[in-house]
Chain length 102, copies 3
């Protein structure tokens, strides 16, 4: 089994549709809408995209574990793993991969 | 430990209340409200329930790992594992179960 | 790897910012806003904070697995693990810890 762990609170992991770029754009727009940039947050040390980034990370995944079968991730046909960047800038990100064999 | 993995991006996994059917109905209505069917999505290849299904999957879980103790899942008294279907139709779904013994 | 499992459907787990208390307050206010107490839920056996607690749990995590390296959790510099209590009262909570060594 492969465990993927995102070492950040303003980026996250997501398994989503791998084929349609339009689905990715809708997804990004959706999270911009339900956790919007706003002047209404108390925490804005790093700018208006700071707190919405934490909220979008809280609503998605910091960790994913995916079974491995016959040497391949047992993802479905339409699944792909994404790093979901929530900041406007694109800071360097660290992902920990942890593979347990059997 | 048992890992449950849902091989789809329009259905997901959820651990929720096992006793009250009303709680399940409220939960379904809630996700219909925060990720509604709408004509406003760019991605609608498979109809109006296509994109909201991806959004509801993104907001819940594709994978769950549950410790096993004394041969039983260590679920709480009120917990049950659900496959959360987000499409209007009910396509066949594949779930991968991965059990690691100790 | 350490797996943390919350045996409840009205509390959940979250990896979030460890430094700024303002970020935690914004996060709590956000979940109060997107899954509010309301008289509109069918399920209210235990009061108005009953169903929103289940919704907030559904939107966050019941389980987290964190790789261990050199005897320490491989958390990022700004990450901390939180138990996110969704009820107004503070009932006793049970968390299962499952450590797999290599």
């Amino acid at each position: 089994m492969l465990t993927i762990f995102c070492r950040h609170t303003s980026a996250s992991l997501l398994i989503q549709e791998n084929a349609a770029p339009a689905a990715r754009r809708d997804l990004e727009r959706y999270f911009e809408r339900i956790a919007p940039e706003s002047s209404g947050y108390e925490h804005d040390d790093e700018g208006p995209d700071d707190m919405p980034a934490h909220l979008r990370a809280a609503l998605t995944q910091t960790q994913l574990s995916i079974p491995v079968a016959d040497g391949r991730l047992a993802l479905g046909t339409w699944q792909r793993i994404y790093l979901f960047e929530h900041r406007d800038s694109t800071p360097e990100r660290e992902i920990v991969l942890h593979l347990v064999g059997e």
